[in-house]
Symmetry: D2
Subunit: 351 residues, 4 copies
């Protein structure tokens, strides 16, 4: 049994880790930390877990947690992961960071978008960006896995098969993304209360969302482009729903390149052949976020708009599962040599 601890277990991604790990047959949960709910039985905070977990929340004692656990999941606000990661590395424990601190390989880019100094830039080099469908082999050997953001997961799955193929202008992508409100976490924020979110749609953080550089970094790498020459537009929108992300991606075809939709679809099917969580839809079938509700599955639809010379791709995931906690467990499975689907095989809940 793998002994796992969750640091920040009472936010929404933490809770989703608890839900999934309590049913993972190779995992024993040994620690759940929460500053706000320390000493409270976990089901008092989340009654849906009644009878599923009998741990109480504990304070964030780095020593104790990293001693006890084989793998530590960090579900913390950005800027707080460094001491945990450093201690895990020191003790030879595996760590999967669901936050942003280890996703960007260049500290300067991190500091430019997050407006804080990175306190352990020397660790960035060995952190692996944990998108298993793209980096499975690096993850197997990693000590630090930087779990991708929810938006980048949907965005990168959308375009990875096209990158470096000579088909599209990878540097000029436009990504229009739509997310459920749970992506903002469990925070008592006026802009998140029901009356403000229900029956309402808006863009936010336009031209300045922190997931933008993460997308550009990975696309540049796959496409073999200069990361500083990327000009990808990423626009997030808040949806009146709890879970789900739909990324709609617009890719300009290069001059003189005019593949058919079926040629592009075949490219995707080959690229993702054998992937248990990736589903490529037939022409004219467009993914719905609800298909992925509560699951680690991703659904990709696409077409070629010959009239304009663009490929349009939409990808649907559950932001809390494939976009966060499910993917973190997928990474853990890889780190420990388990079948990659262990504990996260289930289909979405529909309707």
């Amino acid at each position: 049994m793998i002994r796992a601890a969750i640091v920040g277990a009472t936010g929404y991604t933490g809770a989703e880790l608890v839900r999934l790990l309590t049913r993972h047959r190779e995992v024993e949960l040994v620690g759940l930390t929460s500053r706000q709910y320390a000493d409270q039985p976990y089901p008092n905070v989340y009654p849906h877990m009644s009878g599923q977990v009998d741990l109480a929340c504990q304070t964030q004692d780095i020593d104790n947690i990293t001693d006890t656990a084989d793998v530590v999941f960090l579900a913390l606000p950005h800027g707080l992961s460094v001491p945990w990661v450093a201690e895990c590395v020191r003790k030879g424990k595996k760590v999967v960071d669901l936050g942003a601190d280890f996703r960007l390989r260049r500290a300067a880019v991190y500091e430019q978008w997050y407006h804080v100094t990175h306190e352990a830039p020397e660790l960035l080099a060995e952190a692996v960006y944990g998108l298993p469908e793209l980096k499975r082999e690096q993850i197997q050997k990693a000590r630090i896995v930087a779990n991708p953001g929810c938006y980048p997961t949907a965005s990168l799955l959308s375009v990875a098969p096209l990158c470096g193929q000579g088909l599209i202008r990878e540097d000029r992508l436009i990504i229009d993304a739509k997310s459920g409100a749970s992506g903002a976490g469990r925070n008592a924020n006026l802009a998140l209360i029901y009356g403000e979110v229900n029956e309402n749609v808006k863009a936010y953080n336009v031209a300045k969302h922190r997931h933008n550089p993460e997308i550009e970094q990975e696309v540049a790498e796959r496409a073999g482009l200069d990361p500083d020459a990327m000009a990808i537009t990423f626009t997030p929108h808040l949806m009146p729903m709890t879970r789900g992300i739909l990324a709609t991606v617009y890719a300009d075809l290069k001059e003189g390149v005019r593949p058919s939709a079926e040629e592009v679809r075949d490219l995707y099917r080959q690229f993702y052949a054998g992937e248990p969580f990736i589903h490529i839809m037939d022409e004219g079938v467009w993914p719905q976020t609800k298909w992925s509700y509560g699951s680690n599955h991703a659904f990709i639809g696409l077409t070629v708009e010959a009239r304009t010379g663009r490929i349009i791709i939409t990808t649907a995931i559950d932001n809390l599962v494939k976009g966060a906690s499910g993917q973190a467990i997928q990474n853990m499975n890889i780190l420990f040599g388990l079948p990659e689907t262990t504990g996260i095989e289930a289909a979405g809940i529909y309707p």
Copy 2:
């Protein structure tokens, strides 16, 4: 492995059976019928099941289905179950009917509320009302299990511990129930389209809902009362949500009886001791339907309103799981001697 078939597999309860049974380690799905989608691969109808099930829908061939399967789940509109049940009995197959045809023990009551003639009243006597927490022993020996309606499940779990205890007027209960729209099935009905249901609450079928006699029958039995002397009011309401039922039950205390809330709560805790799916909340904690989302778990809250001499109970379930397909699998587990939680252990999805 138990070979299971689902008759009516493309409605919402059918789809939920498919979702849960594909992950049930002791079950092999051998048949999925659908009049509307015959010959289509199941994931074409429900893409969230891509990669989870590779059966195609088939026509409703009674002979073939009942030959192939060890247990048949019927998810059909009322009035259509009789030939299936009769054939299962004839061939010695187990049958779990998720419809209404075998829930009422007296054909006359069925005909009064459903306005159709019951075509096999002789089979009613041996059908067992499949609410495991109340009838586990009868279910073990049954051939025909009549799976309870979603509203009666929430209602009966709410009041069973009080029945026959000399505390309340069981015959005068008032049940005000709130259901998500999935309870109306997957039907192209104008009253169910989004613009009519969203941001909207209404009562419907007031004083004439067909789940009313089912509730009265079971309460009368448990309380030792004449079923013809019951005067239980049951009022269903449609909620702007997809899943979930909350039953709010008002029970008048008998003259001179004034238990404390804790005495009543203890009664519930004893009654449901050891039940894996039933959770009794502490004083002041009131169940939320979301806690049960996608799961077979039920949450019960209660208090005694001394000022008025009433007990107020609310119970939350997922109408498609504990209120339908999950409970059907719970019944199957009992019928085949499996641990009762097999395949339906998972917690709800929250948020």
Copy 3:
């Protein structure tokens, strides 16, 4: 022109007053107060009011406001209205208090349910409970109008025609009410964020909601009963919607009284004859909260359940309009001798 001021103009009921009063042809808005947003142009707080109002929010200066205005609307948390009301009375200004401080005629009852001392019990005697359909004549002569709570408005409209008619046990009513989340106001409360409210239904404040004594007071008065002998159960539920209340009321018929549904309906039609905001539905038609969305209209459906000896009534209103700000304007119209529908005639928004 009536000069009107709104104290607490940036909560949801305040905002609804602003929306409605800016289109009221006999009203000039002269003051909008807000502690949180003082000095900000009102449309900065509520962009939907861009171009509709050019006032800035001001601090809560009692002297200035009560000097400038002919009528003052108070949209404040309970406990804060007394100094405003006292000053209005002193200066001969009309005041409509949308809060709870002047609804209960007996200070002791107020203190029992609100757990604070009432600081001006001497003013309670002259405050009029502002439910126009029941108290139009007293309102005409009032200086202080205590605008009813949202739940009591729906509840009292449901049962007023039955009270004192010898038909029902007015003291034993059960009211099961369902409200949209805007009833909890514009507050950054964790329990109100989207992930907690969406796709979720729960009861709350069971057996202890502060609208309970308000309902009992008014029912007792109309029925000629001792207010201390009332035993009305009132259970509020939170709905996954923004606006709307549906009250479902259960009234036991007295022994030997068995009116037909049409007799009861006629009673309602006579009682509410000529009322512009009250709509009695035909048998079998049950009100939907969406019908009242954004409007001052109330819809009442009812039937007699002969089998159990009960009358069941459901009433739908918009909690922020007929349940708060619209009714406050209706009261203002009465206070100033205007046609009662002025400025609040509009139908609901559907769908």
Copy 4:
């Protein structure tokens, strides 16, 4: 008084016309047609209109309607408007067609996208595309007003100030639009039922939505481009909400052109100066569809993304009001020389 008739009065756009016109002080409703509900009092179909309108639905008798009315609003499925428009023209009555039949000036384009033959191409030349902010003067003189589609309204308001200014590649726009479900009308369609739409987001009709050529036609005209050389991508998405459209528009700046955000914003403010329904937001403020709920107002936010050389604009409207019925009334006001805001001044309902 203007005598107005609505043909197709029981769909959602028809109902919204009825709601708004019953409160229009210069209009008398003289006819409401409905094939499905002929002879039924209108409030039986839409109870929210109880007491607001006392007409019954009538059959679609062209002669009678065009004799009686001064202006006819057509709210019909595409392909059905021609005989109505022809008869209005013959009798000298004004007609506002909310359908698609007269929006495209070239019959060949209509036939290419709608797959039906246009039966009166000779009338296309004189139909005016009724977007008042862009074509007010032509509308004043028109006999036939082709009311724009909901998506084109939001899209064109987003980009009109930029067209022909030498700033952007008008022919290469990308429009990612999000619409509430009411845009699909009041139809008993399985894909529209609550369980399929709630908590769900998807793209649909990608690269082939019929509003695409309408957008290209008007952008080409304003930009002085060849309509056959346009390559605008338009992608509609279905939102889990009833009302509202948000259009997110991506415009590539031309080579060497790099205006500041404030320069572009000033351009918008000048372009829309004096427009009562258009609101340009400050930098960093992004429109929310809820601001426009039930109203004719449009909210536009924008920024310049210098990093990528793009302008990003989002515009929020209510699809049933500014996107359909409110705009139709705005057009009627212009046709009859009334102040343009008459009857549609009201702010949106928030929250």
